[in-house]
Amino acid sequence: MSQHVIPQKVYYLVFVTLILLTLVTVDVAFYNFGFLNIYIAMGIATVKATIVALYFMHLRYNPRLTWLFAGAGILWLFIMFVLTIADYITR
């Protein structure tokens, strides 16, 4: 597997972005957006997780096989949610 060297600048930028998004998460917690609350919180969390996976975990620079495994993880999460929710919404 090729060892892609990421400039330090990128790491710092990602770090600052993650801190900013954390502050945003805390900030929006003080406002009530009704049913949107959960979507906003999960949306920010998803963006943060994506940035971590792409840069800190080097996914962006990895071959497609690694993408396949990362994608499998997301697919399996999807399976877990869908079949569990299939129970909740039909009780």
Partner: protein
């Protein structure tokens, strides 16, 4: 693979066992074969600890009254039996022992991709084990191995926290091993060893690793949530705190049902190797066998709700999970039919490993088919939480997984140690294991059908005869596990007495000396042929 011509010269002192002396050389080793031996020792200890609990359980159930232990102690005994046997024996058994030893050898690699992570996984396993043993000596845990909430998170006064932490830590050990296998199988195969030339044991190890990597994090998170609720009162599963106990069951079984396949798929890999070797035939339908393994691994993720038909899950979800559960039977049946077709008109040599393979095929079939009773909504309502379930999963986990494990240990013992065990004793113990197993667990099918619930330490008088039969069988079964310990250890007293390939088997592990050198092969093997090409002229017996 049979076309691989390289055979290393047997050098009796130049092997991985003699590569270093002293405790330090073992405890700091990064050799996959030595780590496999370390795992073998650890899991054997846990197996006998778990077996001791089973012995006490069966002793208590000899009579309808509660005359040896109290109800509370009985709850702790079945919990610790389950926790130890599942988390500390069955999950790591074949992957961590046989997989660790064989995956690099079978694919012509010098070691696993991450040898230090491999050693770390053994230490992580033992740290998890220490937590479990601490809980054990500190009074045990009584939740059942399933840790169902809200009992585990709110009401149980036993050692839930250390056991849950132990299981949590143990998961990382499984993940490290699985990660190692996935990378190794993708990246370190010998030249010419393409995917459809891989031995089926490698396919099984690969499928198992995929399940482990995808499912284990879910149990880790679930156990963390349980701890948050128990220690900090965060409401997740307890209805009194606004949580949902069925959510725990969804998350728990999302891991724990695939975990059954973590236990059984490696055994299927072992059986494929053993059946072909002793029937002297190619495996019937190689590609279908490989696809079936992967199909079982994937379908295994879609069926967890069949553990929850009467738990309060919706009828619709129950219907969906029931239908999906039936699908797993298809690839499982493909495997059983193909092993049978491989045996058909084979020149079967009745050596010990194939006796275990016969045991596996028969017992797995019974275990699998009774699983369909439980996957059917209507019959499951009657059978849930009865001894029928206990019998069913023991046919899969003990009749299947443990039989496969022991078959594999007997098949590769000469490769691992350079010694052959006493064949007569080995055949005798395989036979009494089969008899003891059926005598223990078949009566439990009947008990369950008649309505005896599991996890009760007293029962109505009319169930005593079947319970006594079961306890008698357990005694024979216990003997069947002790005898191999004795003759396998006894074989180590002998001089090395086997050559490179004592069974005349195909596969790269049989082309290097027994026991192998530290780096497995003198020269990297090159693979040009198909797997399992059993032909007379290619039997290499020294």
């Amino acid at each position: 693979m049979s076309n691989t011509v390289h055979h290393s010269v047997v050098d009796r002192e130049n092997d991985y066992i003699h590569a270093g002396y002293g405790l330090k050389s073992w405890l700091l080793t990064v050799d996959h074969k030595r780590i496999a031996i370390l795992y073998l020792i650890s899991i054997t200890i846990f197996f006998f600890v778990g077996g001791f609990f089973a012995f006490l359980l069966r002793l208590e159930l000899m009579t309808p009254a509660g005359d040896i232990v109290s109800a509370e102690t009985y709850n702790k005994l079945f919990t610790m039996h389950g926790v130890v046997m599942i988390f500390f024996f069955l999950i790591p058994s074949i992957p961590a022992v046989l997989g660790n030893f064989l995956v690099p050898l079978m694919i012509g690699a010098k070691d696993l991709a991450f040898p230090k992570l491999n050693l770390m996984s053994w230490y992580v396993y033992n740290i998890g084990g220490i937590f479990a043993l601490y809980a054990l000596v500190n009074g045990g845990v009584d939740t059942g191995w399933t840790f169902y909430t809200p009992y585990s998170s709110t009401y149980s006064l036993s050692n839930v926290v250390p056991v849950v932490i132990g299981a949590f830590i143990l998961g990382f050990s499984s993940i490290l091993t699985a990660l190692n296998f996935i990378v190794t199988i993708h990246k370190m195969r010998a030249p010419g060893l393409t995917w459809f030339k891989l031995p089926l044991f490698i396919w099984a190890s690969y499928a198992t690793s995929i399940i482990t990597v995808l499912a284990t994090p879910v149990i880790a998170i679930t156990l963390c949530l349980l701890l948050f609720e128990r220690l900090m009162g965060v409401g997740i599963f307890d209805p009194a705190l606004g949580g949902d106990p069925i959510l725990f069951q969804h998350l728990f079984w999302f891991y724990s049902h695939p975990a059954v396949y973590i236990m059984i798929i490696p055994s299927m890999g072992v059986i494929s190797e053993v059946v072909t070797c002793f029937a002297r035939k190619r495996i019937f339908g190689y590609k279908f066998m490989a696809y079936a393994i992967m199909a079982i691994a994937i379908f295994g993720f879609l069926v967890w709700g069949h553990h929850m038909f009467i738990s309060g899950q919706s009828v619709y979800a129950g219907f969906v999970f029931s239908a999906l559960s039936f699908m797993v039977a298809i690839p499982s049946a493909i495997k059983v039919f193909n092993w049978t077709a491989t045996l058909y008109k084979g020149h079967i040599e009745f050596r010990t490993p194939i006796l275990y393979a016969f045991g596996f095929i028969g017992l797995f079939t019974i275990g699998g088919l009774t699983g369909l009773f439980l996957a059917s909504l209507a019959t499951d309502v009657h059978l849930t939480d009865t001894y029928f379930v206990v019998a069913h999963f023991h046919y899969i986990m003990v009749g299947g997984a443990v039989m496969g494990y022991l078959g594999g240990i007997h098949f590769w013992w000469p490769k691992m140690t350079g010694r052959m065990y006493n064949e007569a004793w080995a055949k005798f113990s395989a036979l009494i294991l089969f008899v003891g197993f059926n005598l223990t667990f078949f009566p439990q099918f009947v008990l369950g059908y008649l309505g005896m619930p599991r996890r009760y330490y007293i029962y109505p008088d009319e169930f005593q005869v079947l319970n006594v039969l079961s306890t008698a069988g357990a005694t024979i079964l216990g003997l069947g596990y002790i005898i191999p310990m004795v003759y396998l250890l006894w074989s180590l007293r002998k001089e090395k007495n086997v050559g490179t390939n004592p069974w005349g088997a195909t596969g790269l592990e049989w082309t290097t000396q027994s026991p192998p050198i530290t780096h497995n092969f003198e020269k990297t093997p090159v693979v040009t042929g198909e797997p399992y090409v059993y032909q007379e002229e290619e039997k290499v017996v020294e």
